[in-house]
Amino acid sequence: MCSGRVDLEFVLRAFSNGMDGLLIGGCRLNECNYITHGNYHALTMVLLCRKIMEHIGLNPERLRIEFMSSAEGNRFAEVMGEFGNEVKELGPLGKGKGEGIDQNELKSKLAEITKLVPYIKLVKNEKLASRLKNPEEYDKLFTKDEIDKLFSEVISYYIDPEKCQACMTCAKRCPAEAIISAKNQIHVIDQEKCIKCGTCFEVCPPKFRAVTKISGEPVPPPIPEEKRTIVRKGKEK
């Protein structure tokens, strides 16, 4: 397994579990154990996550990535010792200098972001795959504004009950099984399950265009179950 296998969700889970610091070790850049150079992906994930941490009021220094070869036992020991001391100095999670977030608030914020992980992976796809040449580029890859915008303008998908013809296309294709559907029943997106991948938006037949993209606004409430049955005019006649 490669350091590129370390998922954003893992990092969030560790902090959500109350870990005070997290270090990811990977092969030296350009000395990939595989041929995929996954350590660059681990690096961009960490850079993104550090910005997210700042966004929710955590000290980004709590997350670090270090590149070393499996032969550098000494360096590993050194780095671990150093990082351990740094984390001790930072104090407990959320209570460090400039942090001051309530444990529960932190947990719920982290939970919220964890839910958005699939979405973040999709919209930041290109940047997450970039191969940064020098450390000066690291901090610039993701900006504060960008992250603020990422969370303030989260996209949601909504099926317009007026337009939905209950054709089942979107439901069949939804990778998260987030669409509540049945024949002749207007489809509804379960926003709790939805991962915002946009598959439904893309596959909804153009003649219906029932799925809409909503950005930065609340999603209208789903129509009540009893009103979901479609009365087909054509058939009535």
């Binding site: 397994m1 590129g4 889970r13 995929t36 992906h41 992980v117 992976k121 795959a129 991948c197």
Partner: protein, 896 residues
């Protein structure tokens, strides 16, 4: 009582009872000759304290007689001992060390735990000098006339590492030439040279004195600008050359083999692994001063030649392992056993192992826990198997070292107990715990418990996985019919495999068709025609000439390659592929090449010499210009063979026409190894060597000599005399660079292998896997890898054949069970996984529900990058699933 530690070059001390070095294999203690009992029949304390009564001081050497069908001699080398020469002051001045001493000083397991310290005052040296060619390139008693080949580059490595230890260090290297002739060496040299505080000084040196107080060492040297100078250094490193093994004469006598005049093994020039005695082969530095990659592929080459000789015995001596049938435990609750290893003192000295074992017993699903001294020892491994059976365990955890080395062993142990091997997990409490927190014992014990708890959490979720047994097609494909390709094909075919040899030209032979002799005097054309004859006559070798490869599909053991040739279009099925496409020669655009027919490349010159062209062999004056088209911005590498070629042509010309004036304009003469002798011979025959700098290249103009002869006027700066030289040349020979073969890129794409920055094929690991690619089942040899001499190409060809044969000798290859799989329902067809998988192991398949990703398990290497890229969680890396890893993360947070 402590005695000088031999492994640490006797810089530090060790007890008579000790482990040779921390990662020694076998990792067991032994008693050396410094033992008091062995010397004076005193002491015997160790016998008493050993609980296992493992010490037997009365043990004597035993004579064992074994019958063998073949022998490989790989006795290695002996570093040159500067003590034999007083002027180096080694052993007299405390702060004069050898490069081997310095290796140990730098090393974390060295005498001062990685601190570079002076012997005199145990302080860090700040100003360090390296003296090159110590014991090499010298025709004086006690010295070696040859070049040791490795010292220039190992010194550069030491300089880089020194700067990593101490960024402020000032390093000075006194050298004669920088011989960066190997792959990536030129860049390595530049990296060293560009570091701050580094000086490379071309000068002979002498060690003058030692300051009685500071113990600093003064070196005398001379540079053209300032003349003779003296300078003081904190430490002087002697870059010692390589000698044959110490007991070489005895070794030769014992095995009945001959030595060459340098006391290295005398080898067959067209098969450098062959000694003078049939059945005895040689590999590594005993062939002559060599670097690690050559030592590795000559080993494979020698191995395969033994196999060729003893093919009829293959497999009859090694027993196949038979494992008990796998028990289906999928319906059982996890029953975990934890074995905590002391690793001698490596873990046990820091982590409280008994306490940790007790803790393990309290963890959910753990039904058994015990401690072991060395889990990897045969008896302990058996104990794991036995306890697994006895206690009905269905998951096994060994808390010991890194899985990198020993996981395969423990998986095997688990299989022996009738469990699927993927029910095994390794908790690393050595590299990641005891070695990191050696001074915080209590915390380290806590951390060891954490690590084991995490492992237990993961173990509960482990699934049994099946490794894939891929059938191996026993045929091989060799791409390229030059010397390397043909040698490789013959070696593979000799062990009963079908070989398909594909050559793009009409005739076999490659670049060697244009080479007539070697520096050592081999008749290349006679050798080549013999080789071609052997290839053509071999019924197992199928030759395709005028051929291009139009398609290559498949994977290790099962490739399908489409070849278009004079035989039409053929689809070849093969289990292994060897890339031996060779290299091309640079067509110079400089020095009037192509404009004036008196300017030619060294290959063209050789052809003219061979033809006996009057203009060439009766020229009054001939100038050779080295480094044409390489060691520049466009091609930042050294072509390795040109110095050798130029010396060869110069000597040949001198033989035909001793009166001819020959000038070689060079940057560094890189006649490494034994060819140094010929460089010296050329100088003796009055071939004139004039050095030029890259920023002040020679100039060539058409002109007339003083006596009215039409000549080419060559002007250059002579750095020794400090003036401008003008030479009238009748012929100019350009040492044109060796460049990657034109078809390299296509071949690399077809076989999914990589090219290095210079366009040559990139091996899997420079040192340890020099003839393999990252892609399994594809191998590499000859100049496709990097420019090299004929003998070197042959060595590598045998080496590649050896690796191919280890693959083809098996009926199946095993692919890991830890690969990715796709849950089609969850796949949204976004293609992120496809984009990041450089192994091309993921494809799209059209379904009714749109494009879906599909993993080709045999191509998957289990890195899992796709898993973390997948937004929907559709793709999962088995054995490292989200559930397993998250369980581990959650367990980390649970407190004891």
């Amino acid at each position: 009582m402590k005695y000088p530690d031999q492994f640490n070059q006797e810089i530090s001390k060790n007890k008579a009872v000790h482990i040779y070095f921390a990662q020694a294999i076998p990792l067991i203690t032994y008693i050396d000759e410094s033992c008091l009992y062995l010397k004076e029949k005193k002491c015997r304390i160790c016998e008493g304290v050993c609980k296992n009564q493992a010490i037997d001081l009365n043990q004597t050497a035993e004579k064992v007689e074994v019958n063998v069908g073949a022998i490989i001699l790989s006795p290695g080398l002996e570093p040159f001992d500067p003590k034999v020469r007083d002027e180096y002051r080694y052993g007299k001045f405390e702060n004069v060390v050898t490069s081997m001493d310095y290796e140990r000083l730098m090393c974390a397991t060295g005498p001062y735990e990685g601190e570079i310290l002076r012997a005199s005052d145990k302080r860090h040296p700040h100003k360090i000098a390296w003296i090159q060619c110590v014991g090499s390139r010298q025709v004086i008693p006690g010295g070696n006339s040859y070049c040791s080949s490795v010292c220039c580059t190992y010194t550069q490595k030491q300089v880089i590492l020194t700067k990593e230890h101490d960024a402020e260090a000032e390093c000075t290297i006194f050298h004669n030439d920088i011989r960066s002739y190997g792959k990536d060496f030129e860049r390595f040299f530049q990296r060293t040279e560009r570091l701050p505080g580094i000086r490379f000084i071309r000068s002979y040196t002498s060690i003058v004195k030692e300051d009685p107080k500071s113990k600093n060492v003064t070196i005398r040297y001379s540079i053209p600008e300032d003349g003779v100078k003296e300078e003081e250094f904190d430490m002087v490193v002697l870059s010692v050359g390589l000698n044959p093994p110490a007991d070489v004469k005895d070794l030769a006598k014992r095995f009945g083999i001959e030595l060459n005049h340098h006391d290295y093994c005398k080898v067959n020039p067209v098969n450098p692994m062959e000694t003078t005695r049939p059945g005895i082969f040689v590999s590594g530095a005993f062939q002559g001063p060599t670097d690690i990659p050559e030592s590795v592929f000559t080993a494979s080459g020698a191995g395969s030649q033994c196999a060729q000789l003893l093919d009829y015995r293959r497999g009859k001596l090694a027993k196949e392992r038979i494992y008990p049938p796998e028990r289906d435990v999928s319906e059982e609750e996890p029953r975990i056993g934890v074995f905590v290893c002391h690793c001698g003192a490596n873990i046990g000295r820091v982590v409280n192992v008994p306490d940790t074992v007790e803790y393990c017993k309290t963890l959910p699903n753990v039904v058994y826990a015990q401690e072991q001294l060395f889990s990897c020892a045969t008896n302990c491994a058996k104990e794991i198997t036995d306890m697994t059976k006895e206690k009905g365990l269905n998951r096994v955890i060994v808390a010991a070292c890194s899985p990198r080395t020993l996981e395969p062993l423990f998986r095997d142990t688990v299989r022996e107990a009738g469990l699927n091997q993927y029910y095994y997990d390794m908790a690393n409490i050595r590299e990641q715990c005891s070695w990191v927190h050696s001074k915080e014992k209590e915390e380290a014990t806590g951390k060891a418990k954490d690590i084991i708890r995490m492992s237990v959490a993961r173990a509960c979720l482990l699934e049994p996985l099946q490794e894939i047994n891929l059938p191996v097609n026993k045929a091989a494909l060799v791409v390229g019919g030059g010397i390397a390709g043909m040698t490789c094909a013959l070696s593979i075919a000799s062990q009963g495999h079908e070989v398909y040899l594909v050559e793009k030209e009409k005739n076999l032979g490659g670049t060697a068709r244009r080479i007539h002799t070697t520096l050592e005097g081999l008749d290349v054309q006679a050798y080549l025609s013999d080789l071609v004859r052997k290839v053509n006559q071999n019924p197992s070798i199928h030759v395709y000439t005028d051929a291009t490869i139009t398609g290559a599909a498949g994977y290790v053991g099962n490739f399908v390659t489409t070849v278009k040739s004079d035989r039409g279009v053929t689809e070849i099925r093969h289990g292994a592929a060897v890339i031996a496409v060779g290299a091309d020669v640079y067509k110079p655009a400089e020095y009037l090449y192509g404009e004036d027919d008196r300017v030619m490349t060294h290959l063209e010159l050789e052809e003219q010499i061979n033809k006996g062209d009057e203009k060439v062999v009766h020229a009054e004056s001939l100038v050779m210009i080295q480094c044409v088209g390489c060691r520049n911005e466009d091609r930042n590498y050294c072509s390795r063979i040109c110095c050798y070629e130029s010396i060869k042509n110069a000597l040949k010309l001198k033989e035909i026409n001793p009166k001819m004036d020959i000038y070689i304009l060079f940057r560094d003469m890189r006649t490494y190894g034994f060819s140094e002798d010929y460089y010296r011979k050329a100088a003796d025959k009055e071939v004139k060597f004039i050095r030029y700098e890259p920023q002040d290249k020679p100039e060539v103009k058409v002109g007339e000599s003083d006596d009215g002869r039409p000549v080419l006027k060559v002007t250059a700066t002579d750095y020794i005399l400090g003036n401008r030289l003008e030479i009238d040349a009748d012929i100019i020979c350009l040492a044109a660079a060796v460049i990657p073969s034109a078809g390299s890129k296509e071949v690399s794409q077809l076989f999914k292998v990589t090219l290095g920055p210079d366009g040559f094929f990139q091996e899997a690991h420079v040192k340890l896997r020099p003839v393999e690619f990252g892609a399994d089942g594809v191998y590499l040899c000859g100049t496709a890898h990097y420019p090299k001499l004929i003998s070197e190409a042959i060595e590598q060809a045998y080496g590649a054949a050896g690796r191919v044969l280890t693959l083809l000798s098996h009926d199946t290859v095993i692919a890991s069970g830890s690969v990715c799989e796709v849950d089609e329902k969850k796949c949204m067809g976004c293609g992120q996984c496809v984009a990041v998988c450089t192994y091309s192991a993921i494809e799209f398949r059209e379904t009714k529900q749109g494009k879906k990703a599909v993993v080709i398990p045999v191509l998957c290497k289990g890195d899992g990058l796709c898993n973390s890229k997948c937004p929907t969680g559709a793709i999962r890396l088995k054995h490292f699933t989200d559930e397993e890893l998250l369980a581990q993360i959650d367990a980390a947070a649970e407190d004891e």
